[in-house]
């Protein structure tokens, strides 16, 4: 076949890397791996999709009961807010939790095949994104069914999701690379994720904090993201992000944190990637 063609020039082989091996192959592989994972989750059993939907819905039902019957939050549209928050947060928590062990779990291909290592955690996040898409359908149906008016700002939701994805990728890269060296990252991360869950305005709306303390909250990137999502989807009377945080600083600080997380995550992963096959 290609034998008759002019001889190819000798090229250096520099060993495995996080990226490398062609952009097309990189994206194809990421896409294929996550589609495969997604398919296996949803089409493995007849009720695959129903089950995956049942989990967040059940969690929602429990939390909703607790926070409206026992701890009475007096917030308009609390149910819609809670469901939206849970759905968005689950992209982060589920993807990162899965990503932690992803590189180690794929040991067999990492040690025996050549491909850009970054594909593994990225495909986990992409699978999470597919899940989010499906879950958001349920959220939209719920919003409409409970009388929330559709509005143009709904179209801006992808921006929020994009920011969330960037943050998720940063964290996934960091934890999956660290796990190769340190096996207790898994335990540490599951606790951290739980802390983040309760420490972010997922269950509770921003208004429950006294005004003087809200600026503290906005160091957490989830605060402006979830708050903005609430504004776009459910709308006023939610306070706008800048109002809630008290200043523009409320947006800049979390943005810096997200960027820093991504940089550290990428740096760690790229450094680990060349030797990952030996470390496992």
């Amino acid at each position: 076949m290609s034998a008759a063609a002019e001889p190819a020039a000798l090229q250096d082989i520099r060993g495995p890397s996080a990226l490398g091996g062609g952009v097309g192959r990189f994206f194809t592989l990421t896409w294929l791996l996550s589609v495969t994972e997604f398919k296996l989750n949803y089409f493995g059993t007849v009720f695959g999709y129903l089950w995956s939907l049942a989990r967040p819905l059940l969690l929602f039902a429990v939390l909703y009961t607790v926070f409206t019957r026992i701890i009475r939050f007096d917030v308009p549209n609390y149910a819609q807010l809670l469901l939206l928050n849970l759905t968005l947060f689950s992209l982060f928590s589920e993807s990162t939790t899965r990503a932690v062990r992803s590189v180690a779990n794929n040991e067999n291909i990492v040690r025996k095949m050549q491909f850009p290592r970054l594909v593994i955690p990225l495909s986990v996040v992409l699978t999470g994104l597919f899940n989010l898409g499906l879950n958001l359908i349920a959220v939209f149906i719920f919003l409409l069914a409970t009388g929330v008016e559709p509005r143009l700002t709904w179209l801006a939701l992808p921006l929020i999701v994009a920011a969330l994805v960037v943050m998720t990728i940063g964290a996934s890269l960091l934890v999956s690379a660290l796990f190769v060296r340190f096996r207790d990252v898994f335990q540490i991360w599951s606790v951290l994720a739980l802390v983040l869950f309760y420490g972010s305005p997922v269950l509770w709306p921003v208004e429950v904090l006294p005004e003087s303390m809200r600026f503290l909250l906005f160091v957490n990137p989830f605060a402006p993201l979830l708050e903005e999502a609430r504004l776009l989807m459910i709308g006023p009377p939610a306070p706008s992000v800048v109002d809630a945080a008290g200043s523009v600083f409320g947006i800049i600080a979390p943005a810096m944190i997200v960027l820093a997380l991504c940089a550290v995550g990428l740096w760690t992963f790229v450094r680990t990637a060349p030797r990952v096959a030996e470390e496992l």
């Binding site: 034998a3 001889p7 082989i13 192959r25 194809t28 592989l29 095949m113 060296r181 030797r275």
Partner: protein
């Protein structure tokens, strides 16, 4: 041949692995003892490997377990990163370190082929368009939509191999596939390699089978202890491989199998030497074997005699020396070395040598069953031994006056 362009060039390649003797695998441990040094033992897998492969060549890589073959392959395949040295490859390279890596048992053959093909460097379009050819080669037409977990191991192996040979890569690199699978599959692999070779692809084959090395490759290297021991003709490499593989005394047979006796005197040690006087357990067919035994007398032994036998690995007695009287007597504390030279008409294979010491005719003193292992290598033949024989042909009725006699 010398004018052919180079497909692979490896120059002074080094690779070592650091193995922490006590692995710190958690952050907790690191945090508790932040300054405790981590001890590493360094394993030098490759220490300066250099070779070249011409385009279109079929090169075999031989070497014992742990000699660094797989490390070399993994470096070429970009799975490991080299410590130093240079690795250059012309064109694309499809590595196959193991058959069926990355196959997901929960996916069907079709999905796995797509996934595996892309991993091997095909585009999804190529993988799809070659799907039929792949399935045809693997002879799995009826099972296309079946999940791989329901495949037999042979079926998934055929599929994996089929994916590999359909890749367009200029250089194919294969680790030990011929060793797995049944005879017909192995033959099919060999045929396919031949076809790819004829097509002008460069192939690198790591193998333990000296037969495939001889029959398939047109160039071979032998890796021993992280360096290239020999680079050249496959037949030479195969012989050298067998030679070093059986060099040295090898694993000593368990000393507890001390056999019977040993009170009055004992056979302390038995080993084999080649004609250069070097201890060995592997001998090329035809080269004489020197048997050396050290005998110690604990008491006076009258008319000591010594004998040995050679049995095939199946336990068939091939030869017995009978007992030979060594001396009139051995005094208490005497230590003597017995040397015998045995011609080697033995068919390639492995044999066990047992030795016995007796006194005063045939009263046994010490019997050491299977004390030495003997491996004979060379071209496989049928039968137990290769005897020197000759033949001639006589013509009874002479049609014309030509005499035909041959030796």
């Amino acid at each position: 041949m010398a004018e052919r362009p180079i497909a692979i060039e490896v120059k002074d390649l080094h690779k070592s692995f650091r193995m922490p003797s006590h692995r710190v695998s958690t952050i907790k441990e690191r945090a508790v003892r932040p300054f405790s040094p981590i001890d590493y033992t360094t394993l030098h897998a490759l220490r300066g490997i250099s070779f070249r492969v011409a385009k279109g060549e079929f090169m075999g890589i031989a070497g014992r377990n742990g000699s660094g073959k797989t490390t070399l392959l993994k470096l070429l395949a970009s799975i490991y990163r080299a410590d130093s040295g240079r690795l250059r490859v012309a064109g694309s390279l499809a590595p196959l370190i193991e058959l069926g890596v990355g196959f997901n048992p929960n996916l069907t053959a079709r999905e796995n082929v797509l996934l595996n093909g892309v991993m091997m460097g095909m585009t999804p379009r190529e993988a799809r368009s070659r799907f039929d050819k792949i399935i045809e080669f693997a002879e799995l037409e009826e099972f296309v939509e079946m999940k791989l977990k329901n495949y037999s191991s042979g079926m998934s192996m055929r599929l994996a191999f089929a994916v590999m040979v359909q890749s367009d890569a200029d250089v194919l690199m294969v680790d030990e596939v011929l060793a797995v699978g049944d005879a017909s599959f192995a033959q099919k692999c060999a045929d396919e390699f031949q076809r790819l070779h004829d097509e002008g692809r460069t192939i690198l084959l790591v193998t333990h089978s000296m037969e495939s090395l001889r029959s398939l490759c047109d160039h071979a290297i032998l890796i021993e202890d992280g360096v290239v021991d020999l680079d050249g003709d496959p037949a030479d490499v195969a012989n050298r491989y067998l030679q070093i593989n059986f060099k040295g005394p090898g694993q000593a047979p368990p000393q507890s199998a001390d056999g019977a006796g040993g009170e009055a005197g004992r056979i302390a040690e038995v080993w084999l030497e080649d004609s250069d006087g070097e201890r060995s357990r592997g001998f090329p067919h035809g080269s004489p074997i020197h048997l050396v035994a050290v005998i110690e007398a604990k008491q006076e032994i009258n008319r000591p005699s010594f004998g040995f036998d050679i049995r095939s690995s199946g336990g068939v007695p091939v030869f017995a020396s009978g007992s030979q009287q060594l001396a009139d007597s051995l005094k208490r504390g005497d230590r003597v070395t017995f040397r015998a030279t045995v011609p080697n008409p033995l068919r390639p294979g492995s044999y066990a040598i047992s030795c016995g010491l007796a006194q005063s005719g045939s009263r046994p003193v010490h019997w050491r069953p299977r004390i030495a292992e003997l491996v004979v290598w060379g071209r496989p033949q049928f039968g137990l031994v290769a005897l020197d024989w000759s033949w001639e042909l006589e013509r009874e009725s002479q049609a014309d006056a030509v005499e035909t006699t041959r030796e």
